[in-house]
């Protein structure tokens, strides 16, 4: 069967659009979490300032920082290994109650981080529980 020219053109456009849509859908469906080494931070701040912001106004700070990429500098107060090869680095904030906890997911080796070191880490802010929590962290400098 012969399809008339204008119809053939429309058919091809529909097929191409559909195909592109399908590829986009598959891509979106399989999209992994961001690699923060390649992302620009939304905020550059010290651990102490970050804790103070949350303590002075938790709601405003939640709106400001949650889901944002925060680059934080501070002194490591503890290094804890967790489930699934995660690593939690706590940064001192000048308060004995709250620190900034940065979780490195699925890290097989501790990248040489020890208590007492001053480091800069980049992570995605999850909010404030008892501490300011950052997730998907990467090491920027030590």
């Amino acid at each position: 069967m012969k399809i008339k020219r204008p119809y053939r053109f429309i058919l091809i456009v529909i097929l191409i659009t559909g195909f592109a849509g399908l590829i986009a859908a598959i891509y979106l469906f399989n999209l992994r979490n961001k690699d923060l080494l390649k992302e620009k931070p939304n905020f550059i701040i010290t651990a102490e300032e970050l804790r103070k912001e949350f303590e002075s106004d938790e709601n405003a700070s939640t709106l400001k920082f949650v889901n944002k990429i925060v680059e934080v500098t501070g002194v490591i107060s503890s290094v804890e290994k967790g489930e699934n090869n995660s690593l939690n680095i706590a940064l001192s904030t000048g308060s004995s109650l709250s620190s900034v906890i940065c979780t490195f997911p699925g890290i097989t080796d501790n990248p040489g981080l020890v208590a007492g070191q001053t480091v800069t880490l980049r992570g995605e802010c999850s909010g404030f529980l008892l501490d300011v929590l950052l997730n998907n962290c990467v090491l920027i400098s030590k």
Binding site: L28, G82, E83, N84, S86, L130, D131, L133, N135, N136
Partner: protein, 184 residues
């Protein structure tokens, strides 16, 4: 004999002086949903928990936002559509070990326990009673449990389109290690 009594008294004083509450902010809670269509796993390594070994009271707190998924889209749906983490940022459990006398917190070993209390997810509080274990080891005490929850119980609505992608009951794993010595 005198010496033994002395040691017992000193040990007793030491335990009291060192406090009977153990805290961690590095606990783990994860969940798993299995269907023939796909497996979905969420991991949270930022669980805050307090265990009072004298009363058996136990508290867990998590930020919903702290759950991590393999795929970015799962994380987005979980936060925005199902758990509504902006509206309900935290999930908590407050309860008690039903049989605290079954655990000797000074003797290393694994003890079967039952924990009862209020589980609050998505703004809905439910009474739950689940089995678990307490493991006493040198330098730490661990609390472990595996149980199931039904999203509908917590008013979590799953749209029909993805109904087949998400299991009717979700398996929850709790692994919390409380350091008992050294800095926390």
């Amino acid at each position: 004999m005198k010496r033994l009594i002395f040691v017992v008294i000193i040990t007793g004083l030491f335990i009291q002086a060192s406090g009977q509450k153990y805290i961690t902010k590095n606990g783990y809670i994860g969940f798993f949903s299995h269907t023939p269509v796909e497996d979905i796993k969420g991991d949270n390594n930022q669980v805050a928990s307090v265990l009072d070994i004298s009363s058996g009271e136990i508290v867990f707190q998590v930020l919903i936002k702290s759950f991590r998924f393999e795929k970015a889209l799962m994380e987005e749906h979980f936060n925005e559509n199902y758990l509504e983490s902006e509206k309900f940022p935290k999930a908590t459990f407050t309860g008690k070990i039903v049989n605290p006398s079954a655990v000797s917190f000074s003797t290393p070993g694994v003890y079967e326990v039952e924990v009862e209390g209020d589980l609050n997810i998505h703004g809905v509080a439910k009474k739950v009673k689940e089995k678990g274990t307490i493991e006493v080891a040198k330098g730490n005490i661990s609390g472990n449990s595996k149980f199931s929850i039904i999203p509908e119980d917590y008013n979590i609505k799953i749209p029909n389109v993805v109904r087949n992608n998400i299991a009717k009951t979700i398996e929850v794993t709790v692994n919390i290690k409380y350091p008992t010595s050294g800095n926390q």
